[in-house]
């Protein structure tokens, strides 16, 4: 079972996601709580120095939250699948293990794709793989 799970799950990627989500999710909630705490206590603080310190703490938390949100938007623009994929090197473009006709049981004849690719265990669309 462990072998099967290891083959199916990229533990390294999963671990990075868990850590990033823990830092981002829990971190933002804690920072926001501290921001609220700073504002709440700041308004009731009697000494000006204490008030400014608490407001400064809130401002710092606000900046950090904004930075995390900006990092999130940046992550959206940097998705690995973004943009047109580069064509595979010629060595990767191998002939299909089975003829494409084997995949079809359709009645009507149809045009065969120009290139069927089977590389690195995944199928790529002929349009994408075409140079």
């Amino acid at each position: 079972m462990i072998t099967t799970a290891t083959a199916l799950i990229d533990w390294h990627e999963l671990w990075r996601i868990v850590v990033a989500a823990l830092i981002g999710g829990t971190g933002v909630v804690m920072l926001f709580g501290l921001l609220l705490l700073g504002i709440s206590r700041g308004t009731t603080a009697t000494r000006p120095a204490a008030r400014y310190t608490l407001y400064a703490l809130s401002a710092l938390c606000g900046v950090l939250i904004a930075a995390v949100a900006a990092a999130g938007v940046y992550a959206m623009t940097q998705k690995p699948s973004s943009g047109k994929p580069s064509p595979k090197p010629a060595a990767a473009r191998v002939a299909p293990a089975r003829p494409a006709a084997m995949y079809r049981r359709a009645t009507a004849p149809r045009q065969e794709p120009r290139l069927t690719v089977f590389a690195r265990g995944s199928w790529l669309h002929p349009a994408i793989a075409a140079p």
Binding site: L14, I17, G24, T26, S82
Partner: protein
Amino acid sequence: MVGAFAFDFTNGFHDTANAVATSIATGALKPRSAVLLSAALNFAGAFISISVAATIAKGIVNPAVLAGEEGLVLVLAALIGATLWNLITWYLTIPSSSSHALIGGVIGATLVASGSAAVNFHKLLQSVIVPALLSPFICGIVALLAAFAAYRLIRLLRSSDAAKGYRLGQIGSASLLSLAHGTNDAQKTMGVISLALIAHGDISTAHFYVPLWVKLGCALSIALGTAAGGWRIINTMGNRLTTLEPPQGFAAESSSAAVILASSYYGYPLSTTQVVSGGVTGSGLGRRLASVHWEVVGQMVTAWIFTIPSAGLLAAAAWEISGAFGNSAAGAIVIALMAIVGAIVLSGLARRSNISPDELDRTTVALDIEPPQLRPPAPLLR
């Protein structure tokens, strides 16, 4: 293309709950304002990144079966299967994954069209099933810890300050979630339409680009769908899973956004619906163990299990009906008309137990967060 836009509309309509349900449930936003904000951000999100190359079911189905005129009919059958399943789960008020419905539709139509050899089941397991099993747990744990942390801090705050503050914070977290949803989900439909345009010869593969009208059309469809507001699913996600307070809502949304964005960045495909559902459940557990309605969670998980097979069956039926007309334009028109009839019937049935946005409005409810006071709050700074 009409089929793709229709699916995009149901996707926005069905998944509105992901971004705004918790904000509505805690009274952070009025229901109509929430869906309008989400619609605007879904529209903007559609333009943030263009991952059209990530076409539907990439790597799961042999793309050879999606080529040519028959391939387009197959994609239409898949879209019909996914759209109808979205509408069925909407009628049943259960949040389910639109992405999984689309993948299920493609697989179902491919299986009847070309046999099991055209489906890469290992890839299906690796990129769909395993993430579907893991994502609710990951987000649930993060949300649980976040909600727990939030309630620890609330003990040092005045109840009214906490409620007001976290309600405000939820507007930001819901916005980020909506933006992420628009970025992820509008791309799927752009991929479907681009595939159709390539097959039709309108786009050259050598000079691949996504026409502006495709981007605009997809963004508008998902935004209009979101603005229509799937109140039934919003009610389930926001009110029936657990009783949410603003700190929990903020924790659920922040955790969901963090998990979705981290997984997007590292290229690990996750379903937004499942992540948010896990987040809401986890935030429920973060406050009090008994506050999660496990029977609703059970119904939701059952729907998730049936999403891929059911959408696949519907798509397979659509493909077979189209096959009776030679899998040509006539067949496509027949299955499209049947899908429209099915959608009208489901909408009519849903009207019998309609949920209006006014019923969900919690903005006028004064929330009084009373965390357990184990000891008097310590003075932070005097």
